[in-house]
């Protein structure tokens, strides 16, 4: 292999950050046990000002960002949300609001529509008031149903998101019935990914194989029943896979997150990775952060990989999986994601699944730690 080819393999051309996720705030009225937000939110700095966010939008758009997620925490907790949406729309972003719906009344949804919001993704925690309210540690179910009706009335594509885990995965049929009644066009049944608060609660949340299989069968039957009226995405928990997910399409490849305090991250949970100084948008421009910072270059290409990833023909497809998961499970973010059965640490994942099976058989209930942004 020539030196030029080797160089190209190590450092592929860096494309633009096509996807920008602005986590506008960590404040949230809910206390979900599966939230991926950091467990030490209070340790982060103060939230960016409106002007800072508008500058982030302009600079990222100039680099080619086009899909914009406005998330949190609960983004509606920011009273400048409408202003941020309006600027994003003017710049040519496709603007997605990712929300629990708490705080979305008719006045605000009208203002957001006028500002140019393209899409609202509404989360439910379950199909029944009891479980929804229990899992989010709030009384919010009926409020969410009202918000769903508002989303329809204001002619948004109706996208429901329900995070699945051991405590609600047996309700998939009722969840899909609810989604159909609400007129959802897309439903994401997203099995919990184990980061942040979900990692803290993993022993209580990981479902059993049998639960998972049943939920997939129910989903398939429902798909056949509703046809193209409702599209259902079922994201399986990667602990049950034999190969890792191509997390973020590789860190630093297309995805840029800006956390509430302005920290720029190559994925929402990357802040946990050790030994990396993440740049802040208050100190540096987006171009410099994306192309030049160590934080965004660290895991680009394949040069950082260890075996078995380094010589694996599948490395160009899955990029070694998720760096955060490798770190959480093995203590070293340059290891292969242990979800991969080729990883020498794969036993850590199968052991967690086995523990879940045993706990389910024995009827063990693990205590839950509810998210708290003042923690």
């Amino acid at each position: 292999m020539s030196a030029v080819q080797a160089e190209a393999l190590e450092k592929p051309a860096v494309g633009p950050p096509l996807w920008l996720l602005c986590e506008l705030t960590y404040r949230c009225p809910l206390h979900c046990v599966f939230c991926y937000n950091p467990v030490d939110m209070r340790a982060t700095g103060p939230e960016l000002s409106t002007d800072d966010w508008l500058r982030v939008l302009r600079e990222a758009r100039a680099l080619g960002a086009v899909q914009l997620g406005l998330s949190g925490g609960e983004p509606l907790a920011r009273d400048d949300l409408e202003e941020i949406v309006a600027e994003a729309h003017t710049l040519g972003y496709y603007v997605n609001l990712i929300t629990s719906g708490i705080g979305l009344n008719e006045q605000r949804i009208r203002a957001l529509k006028e500002a140019g919001l393209d899409h609202i993704q509404l989360s439910f925690q379950d199909s029944t008031r009891e479980v929804n309210d229990f899992l989010s540690s709030t009384r919010t179910f009926e409020l969410k149903a009202k918000v769903a009706a508002l989303i329809k009335r204001y002619d948004y594509p109706m996208v429901l998101n329900v995070v699945l885990h051991r405590l609600n995965i047996d309700h998939v049929e009722q969840i899909l019935d609810m989604a159909d009644r609400l007129g959802a066009e897309y439903v994401e049944l997203a099995n919990t990914q184990y980061y942040g608060w979900a990692w803290k609660n993993r022993e209580a949340l990981l479902p059993t194989r049998e639960q998972l299989q049943r939920a997939e069968e129910v989903t398939q039957r429902f798909r056949e029943k509703v046809g193209s009226r409702m599209r259902i995405f079922f994201v399986i928990p990667d602990y049950f896979e034999r190969r890792p997910k191509a997390c973020m399409n590789g860190l630093g490849s297309i995805f840029l997150t800006v956390a509430p305090d302005g920290t720029a991250l190559p994925c929402q949970s990357a802040r946990i990775l050790p030994g990396i100084e993440f740049p802040n948008v208050k100190d540096q421009g987006i171009r410099e952060i994306w192309y030049d910072s160590d934080a965004f270059n660290r895991f680009r290409g394949y040069g950082w990989m260890k075996e078995p990833c380094r010589s694996c023909p599948e490395r160009t497809r899955d990029f070694g999986g998720c760096r955060c998961q490798a770190y959480l499970l093995t203590g070293d973010p340059t290891n292969a994601d242990p979800v991969c059965e080729l990883s020498p640490h794969h036993g850590l994942v199968t052991a967690a699944v086995e523990r879940a099976e045993r706990a389910a058989r024995a009827g063990v209930e693990h205590p839950l730690v509810f998210r708290d942004h003042r923690a």
Partner: protein
């Protein structure tokens, strides 16, 4: 789904947005939390699907602009594919009346 008629008037489907992206030098279709980067011919076809022009008119325009003939089969096949994916929808005659 069957091959669309010459007189059908396709437009971009509800929930989708078509736009030219300078950074990608391509038309893209944007939808809730997703994006499709279109190749040149797909971009050329979709950017003409405004709900006003018929498929016959779109074919004629493309043939004139690109100095080609016999594009009808390719255009119809792509429109059929795009209808299946909800990238396009057909404007009903009642809606136009």
């Amino acid at each position: 789904m069957s091959v669309p008629a010459d007189t059908a008037r396709p437009r971009i489907g509800r929930g989708f947005r078509l736009q030219w992206e300078e950074a990608q030098q391509a038309h893209v279709l944007l939808y809730p939390e997703g994006m499709v980067k279109l190749n040149g011919s797909a971009g050329a076809i979709l950017s003409r699907c405004d709900g006003e022009r018929t498929i016959a008119e779109i074919v004629a325009d493309l043939e004139a602009v690109y100095g080609a003939t016999g594009l009808e089969g390719d255009v119809k096949a792509f429109v059929e594919f795009a209808l299946e994916k909800n990238w396009l929808e057909l404007v009903s005659e009642e809606a136009r009346a």
